[in-house]
Subunit: 148 residues, 6 copies
Amino acid sequence: MTEQQSGIGKTALQLVLANSHEIKEAEEKVQATSYRYCLGKTGSMELQKVVSAIETAAKRNGLVDDQLYREMHALYHAILEAVQGVTRGQVQLGDVMRTVGLRFSVVRGYPYPNSKEGEWIAVALYGTIGAPIKGLEHETSGLGINHI
Amino acid sequence: MTEQQSGIGKTALQLVLANSHEIKEAEEKVQATSYRYCLGKTGSMELQKVVSAIETAAKRNGLVDDQLYREMHALYHAILEAVQGVTRGQVQLGDVMRTVGLRFSVVRGYPYPNSKEGEWIAVALYGTIGAPIKGLEHETSGLGINHI
Amino acid sequence: MTEQQSGIGKTALQLVLANSHEIKEAEEKVQATSYRYCLGKTGSMELQKVVSAIETAAKRNGLVDDQLYREMHALYHAILEAVQGVTRGQVQLGDVMRTVGLRFSVVRGYPYPNSKEGEWIAVALYGTIGAPIKGLEHETSGLGINHI
Amino acid sequence: MTEQQSGIGKTALQLVLANSHEIKEAEEKVQATSYRYCLGKTGSMELQKVVSAIETAAKRNGLVDDQLYREMHALYHAILEAVQGVTRGQVQLGDVMRTVGLRFSVVRGYPYPNSKEGEWIAVALYGTIGAPIKGLEHETSGLGINHI
Amino acid sequence: MTEQQSGIGKTALQLVLANSHEIKEAEEKVQATSYRYCLGKTGSMELQKVVSAIETAAKRNGLVDDQLYREMHALYHAILEAVQGVTRGQVQLGDVMRTVGLRFSVVRGYPYPNSKEGEWIAVALYGTIGAPIKGLEHETSGLGINHI
Amino acid sequence: MTEQQSGIGKTALQLVLANSHEIKEAEEKVQATSYRYCLGKTGSMELQKVVSAIETAAKRNGLVDDQLYREMHALYHAILEAVQGVTRGQVQLGDVMRTVGLRFSVVRGYPYPNSKEGEWIAVALYGTIGAPIKGLEHETSGLGINHI
């Protein structure tokens, strides 16, 4: 672990905030740390598709072991917390007539100097939320962090 | 308004995420856009102090006109939405035995190409949340956006 | 019970919405029904003072028997439901830097034609919510109904 | 703008509370003010149909410009706030096995003496909520207000 | 009413916590009191099926009179409160990608020495909540109590 | 780990439900398992005192290592989830004019046959909630579970 690595949450947020021309640099920055990560996109009026897309990406990229409930449980709660930043109030999309288009990142690693603190997982979201009509939307973001 | 300016929410988030050696560059980037902004810090176990610190900074920096309820109302709801990303679930701090240390930014301007969309306001928060004991904390973030 | 009496909720709302010159007529209208009611005002940044003011008025006016938990329980939940209409989201006032000035009514009686449905209680609230600064506020309302 | 016009919220509530024989008088009262308004009915176990019905009525009656996100955003949040008074706790209907039958009003105008406060929008709801069985229901109401 | 009967809530909880070899003893214990009760199982990703299963069992076993809204209203709110203990935060299942397998009990009777306190109803839930994959789940419980 | 040990949640619930003459038997039952546990009482109108009492008991009894944030973080979220079962809706006590008197248990151990699932922690609560007046109260319960 490099001592100068950013917080795991900031790392996750910077990955989703990077524009297409910045993403390479952002990824290289994370690769220089001890963190592992994955990136993806998801968009839906159904919240469960958002949750599912992030879980699937994290499993496929080996960030969590889907045979261990403990890891899936940690990831799940980090996702739900990030979603609360996105939905701000009601954890609902289509039910209250809105849709999201999101970039997501999942970052896993040792964010504390004391190695006994073990691994943690961060989920960051950034994109748009709004009516299911192009243009009727504004930005939204969320961050969830959990021990794993 | 420069055409290439980032979203108002991303701009607000990048301001609170910048480290001390990045902040100058981050501020210059915003100054090149048509957005106006202010930055500050706040930490408390009392949520109302957090709300109040952001409102005061926004007023002092002329981002909102405190004689117009319409502007204060827009700011207030943007703050509350950002706080929901930070608290994820219960909009409470000391009542549930936790404290925050946050950087905040408030950004105001025209984020949409169509000038009739008028001005919007974004509030971004980034910092730590946790027990009122040094070190027992993890990162947290929130973003609220409203028309003004 | 007169057959044409309004719903218990509408009755409660009309009492809090009546202006000073309409209140006499509004009260007479309720007095012509089988409903019993009381009216009051409360204003605070502390939610518990609002709850307490309504409970006290209902007890003093004999709308509930404060020796019976069953009646206090019914009233309490009707109050909390009405407060949720007022606060819309977080059931909080001062903690999120806002204050209310409210008129309240409590109405008790038999709202259903079938007398076996027994008595119900309605709590209506109407007034203003906003920053603790004169003028920085807008209207708010809430209605709670429970069997008693 | 007539000086004696009621608050925009009270106006919206009185429109949904008016019985069939009172509605003409209630509408005339609003027409004497500077407020614009529309009225409608909606009933569903699906919350998104309620949101959609109000949005559609407001658009068709020219109360909001559906080409401007700013106006749709203001309306949307006013609707959600009104719905919170109706649902009191969970912003859900069919998911928790309940249905609503509602009258709604949308009122737009200048509620503050200071014209710089600009236009605001109020959404009022009144009707019944309960089990999806005739008669197993009680009254419910909600009010949402936003600057536009 | 036997004087030594447990609280109505504890009684409801003990019924859902009893293992198969303990259930006979648990039921006999309740039968020795003045409480009436029913027991059942339900599992779903749809919250409304959970609500519906409990309502149906309570009606079929004569614990509530489905012709009286007052009784259905009391039961409904007791169910919703119990569900909040199970879901802890968002009153949602499938929408946030999770499922439950629950035992439920409904208990009705006079829990207070003062007979004027009348009848109350308790709903207890115990089982598992988790991802819709066998094994990825942990225990969950909830208790709701209301006057009837 | 004995194969027949109950779930960690059920174990925690049975500890708080046991009457004074049952508690010895209940404790012996847990001592026969691999679980570690502690028991306590707390009562307050202030939620933070409830949270604090449970944290302190868990630390003093060596159930969590207060030098490790990871353990305190796991415990904290388990407590908050249990509190949500107690408060059902608003995670608030005195602010909405109510008080609790609770027994609590904290149980730690390996609830899954697969030892890779590691340790989990359960927090159970049982007692009364109501107005701050003796007798105006009913039972309440909550259960929170987290990986540690």
